[in-house]
């Protein structure tokens, strides 16, 4: 051991501010560098490949169009991406690595913002990978069945699907920010994504008054037209309203809680 390596008293000429891009880069790395993180990321590709193979094997020949592939690949994506985004936030508290992270970067909002940027980047890249897998699937699938190739997803439609998937992903982020605990946030997210739509459906069919309200509060209903590419008119307003209610407001409340909370 050399004492010189410590060299504690020296001019801190290189004391550069920690930049947002550097934090984002590190946070992106943290999404991959654990075993669970690695397999979660891999599962995006694995699920996309499995969906593609399943579509080729089981979809009726007449339905073997690009949209069928996109739909099949897109569904697991909307499940996995939010979990990745959620874990990137909650692990700082649940795994307690926040003790180090927040002492290296005291501005907690920066860390969260960096995680959001990193998650969105992962989401966008995943969508492009899915697109590529879908294209290959459609080429191979139609070659096997000797049917006509149907490219029935326009660029605009693909962008809408990306937007829809990113909204799903950000919902995971929001629940992570709000609860800061992996189990609690995951349960809340699954209640939101699996139980709530059914509940809204039952309410809408039994309570007439709720029927009018439903489009403004039911996020999964509001996001559906993004995925089939048919969104128009009022539906944009519904989408915006549900995004404010389920994404923006809870995230702002969560950020306030994070700023005041204790990191233990």
């Amino acid at each position: 051991m050399t004492t010189k390596a410590l060299d504690p008293v020296r001019v801190q000429a290189s004391a550069r501010q920690v930049s947002l891009s550097r934090v984002t880069y590190v946070e992106l790395g943290k999404m991959f560098d654990t075993r669970s993180g690695f397999w979660l990321m891999s599962s995006i590709v694995i699920a996309a490949l499995l969906s593609t193979v399943a579509t080729i094997l089981f979809a009726p020949d007449a339905e073997l169009t690009f949209y069928t592939f996109a739909e099949a690949i897109g569904f697991p994506m909307t499940v996995i991406l939010p979990i990745i985004a959620l874990l990137s936030i909650t692990s700082e508290w649940t795994q307690r690595s926040g003790l180090t992270t927040f002492t290296l970067v005291p501005h907690r909002n920066w860390v969260i913002l960096a995680k959001v940027i990193a998650s969105v980047a992962v989401g966008v890249v995943s969508m492009l990978v899915a697109l590529a897998i879908g294209v290959v699937g459609n080429l191979v699938g139609t070659a096997i069945t000797r049917t006509d190739r149907v490219w029935d997803v326009s660029v605009a439609h693909f962008l809408l699907i990306v937007l829809g998937s990113l909204l799903c992903l950000l919902t995971g982020t929001t629940f992570g920010i709000l609860f800061r605990s992996t189990p609690v946030a995951l349960v809340a997210y699954f209640v939101y994504s699996l139980v709530l739509p059914t509940l809204f459906g039952i309410l809408a069919s039994s309570q007439e008054r709720f029927l009018e309200l439903q489009p403004w509060v039911d996020a999964s209903n509001a996001q559906a037209p993004l995925f089939d590419g048919s969104i128009a008119g009022d539906q944009w307003a519904h989408l915006a309203a549900t995004a404010v209610a389920w994404l923006l407001l809870p995230a702002l409340v969560g950020l306030r809680l994070i700023a005041r909370s204790e990191v233990r």
């Binding site: 390596a5 504690p8 008293v9 004391a15 920690v18 560098d33 692990s91 003790l99 002492t103």
Partner: protein, 298 residues
């Protein structure tokens, strides 16, 4: 230098840290001593911005922690060696800190060397580390940015005697090079071998602070005389408090020189006269037993 100014923290109605003020000086190892639950960790968390104080503030080299442009270059922090993602290897944990601070990659190997973690250790997942290895990794993370201030919470926990000696040497060298070290412990003997200055805390309040030498000196003396009754009278006549123990020796709050002078004036023959070294320990044991009583009552 770390300056803590009237820091207080309440949880609900309970005051955990009660108006503490002290300075940890550069070039010295300051021991933050207190029984479990005395408020040491809460105080340290407030110093590095992880807990918001109800009042008061703490500065590091004159600036609040949140105002440091790149904290990793100025202050090395280890609050809990176990607080790492179990799925990362030691090297990955260090690499994240190196990247966040913006250091050259070779600092990772240098930091590993500094805490004597081997290549094999570094490539293992932290989940499989012993507590001692986690402490070493935590200290490596704290040291990687070559900070001038170190804040370590219970760093000797889980280290074997050789490990404690290693850490003492490391921190000694660090302080001798001009660094500021604040380390906490609930064990007196750990602090005694490492620290230059001591801040003793109990029930959220500072009960005693000063240099180790001062605090030991303040302990008074142990004295045995041919005529203990006469000596006891002489000492209390001079305004000193003495207590007689079963073996006939007297314990006085006067230092040995004063006791010797008092004895000479009264023409008393002494058999034994020495510094009472247990003074610090007595205060500390008193604190510990108080907290234990509170613990039992709760």
């Amino acid at each position: 230098m770390i300056t803590v100014d009237s820091l207080s923290k309440k949880y609900g109605g309970r005051t955990v840290v009660d108006n503490i003020s002290f300075t940890a000086r550069a070039g010295r190892v300051t021991g933050f001593l207190g029984p479990n639950g005395a408020g040491k960790s809460t105080s340290m968390r407030m110093m590095v911005g992880l807990t918001r104080p109800n009042s008061g503030n703490a500065t590091i080299s004159g600036r609040r922690f949140a105002d440091l442009p790149n904290p990793g270059l100025e202050v090395g922090v280890m609050l809990d060696a176990s607080a790492q993602h179990a799925g990362r290897t030691g090297r990955e944990v260090l690499t994240l800190a190196q990247q966040m601070i913006g250091l050259p990659t070779r600092r990772v190997e240098e930091a590993l060397d500094l805490v004597s973690l081997t290549e094999t250790d570094a490539n293992r997942r932290v989940g499989g580390y012993s507590l001692g290895m986690r402490q070493r990794l935590g200290i490596a993370v704290a040291l990687i940015g070559r900070p001038s201030v170190l804040i370590l919470d219970e760093p000797a926990n889980g280290l074997d005697p050789a490990g404690i000696r290693w850490m003492r040497d490391l921190l000694r060298d660090y302080a001798d090079d001009g660094g500021t070290v604040l380390l906490s412990s609930h064990l007196l003997h750990e602090i005694e071998v490492i620290a230059d200055d001591i801040v003793m805390i109990g029930g959220g309040r500072i009960v005693s602070q000063g240099s180790l030498a001062e605090l030991l000196r303040a302990a008074g003396s142990i004295v045995r005389a041919q005529d203990p009754d006469a000596l006891e009278r002489a000492l209390s006549g001079s305004g000193f408090v003495t207590t007689r123990s079963e073996d006939g020796s007297l314990r006085s709050d006067a230092d040995p020189t004063t006791v010797g002078l008092v004895a000479r004036e009264s023409y008393l023959a002494l058999i034994e006269l020495r510094t009472a070294e247990g003074g610090l320990e007595d205060v500390f044991l008193q604190l510990t037993s108080d907290t234990e009583r509170e613990g039992r009552a709760a």
